[in-house]
C-alpha cells in the first residue's frame, strides 16, 4: 500500500499509528485498573484483625491473617511446639494458636502473616506462620542507638 493509493502522506500515517498506540495503551491501562480494583479482595495477601471483624466470613474459611505480634502475648504450650500469641493491628486483636516451627524473625512486636481458620471459639488456628520484614535496613549499632535515644519508631505494619 503506497502513500499515493491510500491518499495519505507518510507523516499522517505515522501520526495515526502514534494515536493508535496511545489510545490502545490508555484503554489497556483503564481495563487493568478496573480488573485490579474488582479483584481487590483476592489480591490482598492477608486480612488485618479489623478486616476480619468487618468481613462476612464463611465458617471455616481458609484465610491469611496479618499484623503485629502483641508485646508480652507469646506463650509456649507445655508440649514445646505449640505457640499461642495475639495478632494486633493496634485497633483490634485476634488470638492465634500455631503448632510448628516459627521463622527466625518471629518475635514480639514483629509483623507476621499466619494462614489458617478462625475457630468457633474465636481463636485463629494457624497452619503456617510467616514473618514479615519491614523496609528498614540498618546496622545493629544504629538500631541500639536509636532505641537508647528514644528515636526508635515501632514498625507500623
Amino acid at each position: 500500500m503506497s502513500a499515493t493509493t491510500s491518499g495519505r502522506t507518510p507523516a499522517t500515517r505515522k501520526r495515526r499509528r502514534l494515536y493508535a498506540v496511545l489510545a490502545g495503551l490508555t484503554m489497556l491501562g483503564v481495563a487493568a485498573a478496573l480488573v485490579l480494583t474488582a479483584f481487590q479482595d483476592n489480591i490482598v495477601f492477608f486480612y488485618s484483625p479489623t478486616d476480619l471483624k468487618e468481613k462476612e466470613l464463611h465458617p471455616n474459611q481458609f484465610l491469611r491473617l496479618g499484623g503485629l505480634v502483641e508485646e508480652g502475648s507469646v506463650k509456649k504450650a507445655s508440649d514445646g511446639v505449640t505457640t499461642e500469641f495475639i495478632i494486633t493491628d493496634l485497633s483490634n486483636t485476634v488470638a492465634v494458636r500455631y503448632t510448628g516451627l516459627l521463622p527466625d524473625l518471629f518475635r514480639e512486636g514483629q509483623g507476621v502473616v499466619s494462614q489458617g481458620r478462625l475457630g468457633p471459639d474465636g481463636i485463629f488456628v494457624a497452619t503456617e506462620v510467616l514473618a514479615k520484614h519491614d523496609e528498614n535496613y540498618m546496622p545493629p549499632e544504629v538500631a541500639d542507638a536509636l532505641k537508647k535515644s528514644g528515636q526508635w519508631k515501632e514498625p507500623s505494619k
Binding site: R17, G24, A32, V44, L130, K132, H133, Y137, P140
Partner: protein, 239 residues
C-alpha cells in the same frame, strides 16, 4: 533522533563507547560486591542474610528498567518504523529475562530464612513472575514467523501490552497487603536504609546498568549484522 535510528550511525557512536561502559560495569560490580559482602554491616534484624539484597535489588530494578526500555523501543519502532527499535528490544529481552530470574532466585533464597517460605503468591512476587513470562513470550513470538517483520510487529505489540505490568510491580506493595516489604530506597520520605548499606547498593546498581548496556550493544551489533546478511541473501535470490 531519526539520525541515530540509522543502524550505521548508531554503531559509529556505540562502538567507541563499548570498552568504557564495560570497564565501568566491571569496576562497579567488583567494588559493589566487595563493599556489600565484606565491608557493609550486618542488619539489626536479618543479620548476614541482608547481603543477598546487594544482588537482589539491583537485578529487580534492572528487570523493570530493561522491560520499560523494550516497551519504549517497541513503541518507537511500531510508530516510526525504525528497524533499530525492533532490534534493540530483541537484543534486550534475554538480558531482562536473566535479571528477572536472578531477582526471583535470590528473593527465594532470602525468603526461606527470613519469612519462612521459598515462595508465596503475593502481589509483588506474582507480578514479577508474570514479567518473566512476558520476556519469555516476547522471545518466543519474535522468532515464531518466517517473515521477521511480522514477528517483530507481533512481539512489539506484546511488549507494549505487557508494559501495563511495570507500574503494577512497582506499586503492588503500596496498593495491596503483601508479604514483600514496601520500597526502601525510592520513596517520598527518603531512603529507609542506612547510608553504610545504601552506597554499596547504589554502586551495584550502576554496575548492573552498565552491564546491561554493554551486553545490549554487543547483542545489537550481531542483530544488525544478521539483518544485513539477510538483506544481502534476499537481494541475491531476487536478482
Amino acid at each position: 533522533m531519526h539520525r541515530f535510528a540509522n543502524p550505521n550511525q548508531f554503531l559509529r557512536i556505540a562502538n567507541p563507547l563499548l570498552p568504557w561502559i564495560s570497564a565501568l560495569s566491571v569496576l562497579c560490580m567488583a567494588a559493589g560486591l566487595y563493599l556489600g559482602l565484606f565491608q557493609a554491616p550486618p542488619d539489626y534484624q536479618q543479620g548476614e542474610s541482608v547481603r543477598i539484597m546487594y544482588v537482589h535489588v539491583p537485578s529487580a530494578w534492572m528487570a523493570l528498567f530493561v522491560y520499560a526500555s523494550m516497551a519504549i523501543a517497541s513503541a518507537t519502532a511500531l510508530i516510526w518504523r525504525h528497524p533499530l527499535g525492533f532490534l534493540m528490544a530483541k537484543a534486550s529481552a534475554p538480558i531482562g529475562a536473566c535479571f528477572t530470574v536472578i531477582c526471583l532466585a535470590t528473593g527465594s533464597l532470602w525468603g526461606k530464612p527470613m519469612w519462612g517460605t521459598w515462595w508465596e503468591w503475593d502481589a509483588r512476587m506474582t507480578s514479577v513472575l508474570i514479567l518473566l513470562f512476558l520476556y519469555v513470550g516476547y522471545m518466543a513470538l519474535i522468532d515464531a514467523f518466517d517473515d521477521p517483520t511480522r514477528g517483530q510487529r507481533a512481539a512489539s505489540i506484546l511488549a507494549l501490552v505487557g508494559a501495563v505490568n511495570v507500574p503494577i510491580i512497582k506499586f503492588s506493595v503500596d496498593w495491596w497487603n503483601t508479604l514483600h516489604q514496601p520500597a526502601s530506597v525510592v520513596k517520598l520520605s527518603g531512603p529507609a536504609i542506612h547510608p553504610s548499606m545504601l552506597w554499596p547498593l547504589l554502586i551495584m546498581a550502576v554496575g548492573f546498568t552498565a552491564f546491561y548496556f554493554a551486553l545490549m550493544i554487543v547483542r545489537l551489533r550481531s542483530e544488525i549484522a544478521a539483518a544485513k546478511i539477510r538483506n544481502i541473501r534476499l537481494g541475491q535470490v531476487h536478482s
